[in-house]
Symmetry: C2
Subunit: 215 residues, 2 copies
DNA sequence: GGTTGTGAACAAATTCACAGCG
DNA sequence: CGCTGTGAATTTGTTCACAACC
């Protein structure tokens, strides 16, 4: 066991998955050690940032040598809580919900899609891409039985807040919101958002103002 | 005309679309003016931040009153470059590409999906959700003819860099990357990324470390 | 009175630069 | 000698607090 790191900055936390992906590539290629310089190149950041970020996890490097890939990958997975699966429920079996259910990337990375939830009676009881569709009222039971820990909101914006409330009431503590609206959650619930059109609007801004190199 | 704002901070730019969405709601409800306080509530930030952010666009508020919703929305749209459409090309007609093509949110917000591009010969020439599928070699011509300005990369990670290079070579200056890998673009090309699994991994971290209220 | 717009104070994040160690 | 780990410096972003103005 043993630890030694506490309070990792938010900015660092959101870069850890990027480093982990790079480490996975290196593992695939049987590369035994990696320098901060090389890891920075792979992750698209600079070397000082890599070293500072990794230092929050502990002193896992060796001066003059670099980081042992396998060991660092293990420590990072552990820190990120990725040594176990986190089943997710996708709220909304419309376009976006179905697409996400069919997107292999979640299951591959330890986030199996346990169920889809939709209010449409005609969808309940069917399977979409192999994933069973349940009614909203079934959610609390599913959370218990399947150990669902994350809710992905893929509903229209109009109902997103109500759906989020139901997700929280069902005992889920983490929400990833794809609906293009702000939702509020109580203390103790973690919320992140992905706003697809927002990203395009930001690109539009920088296209108008032929400003920087990389945004 | 007249202007008066220059060099808007990145953090502000990525909040502008959120404010704009709130303003659109207020417009729908025929609300004539809005205070920074109310706008902050709708956008999920605090009032001081709203005022500072809006001040970069110019002095569009009235002390003691607030901001005129319609006027502010117009100025913001103009600043974001949203007074015209920006046609996009989706690279990759697999799961994710098809889902994005079918996702109404892009077209609705001024980013019509002009085409899908896929290397698979059997898909080329067909239509998916009404969007025509072309071969990669057709891209430069399409950029010219359809005025495509943004490329959305929805290919597997393995080919994402090559696809990005092709997008850039075809004359596109803005890229939104959905592939779970880092891609490099030359100076003068704008790049943003959406990493779906990354967001879940960050939630996993905070779930392990029962840390904050909101992430 | 009410609300904006903004300098000044503060906090977070990034980068520098080098001592410390293998 | 090479590369990490980290304090210090710098930059960027946020929040405060209040004068300016309607």
């Amino acid at each position: 066991m043993g630890d030694g790191a506490r309070h990792i900055p938010e900015a660092t936390v959101s870069r850890l998955p990027v480093y982990l992906r790079s480490l996975a590539e290196l593992l695939d290629d049987n590369v035994p050690t990696v320098s901060s310089e090389r890891l920075a190149e792979m992750a698209g950041v600079n070397a000082a940032k890599v070293r500072k970020d990794l230092s929050y996890l502990g002193s896992y490097g060796t001066r003059g040598v670099g980081y042992e890939v396998e060991y660092l990958a293990f420590q990072m997975s552990r820190e990120l809580g990725l040594t176990r699966d986190w089943p997710v429920a996708i709220m909304g079996a419309g376009n976006l919900g179905q697409a996400l259910a069919n997107y292999g990337g979640f299951t591959d990375r330890g986030f199996p899609v346990a169920c889809l939830i939709d209010a449409d009676e005609s969808k309940v009881g069917t399977r979409i891409h192999g994933i069973p569709v349940y009614a909203p009222a079934d959610l609390p039971g599913l959370v218990q039985e399947l150990g669902i820990s994350i809710g992905i909101i893929a509903t229209p914006a109009t109902v997103a807040q109500a759906v989020a409330d139901h997700v929280v009431a069902s005992g889920i503590k983490s929400i990833l919101n794809f609906a293009p609206t702000v939702i509020n959650v109580p203390e103790g619930t973690f919320l992140r958002k992905v706003d697809l059109a927002l990203e395009l609007q930001v690109l539009s801004f920088y296209q108008e103002h032929r400003t920087p190199d990389r945004v």
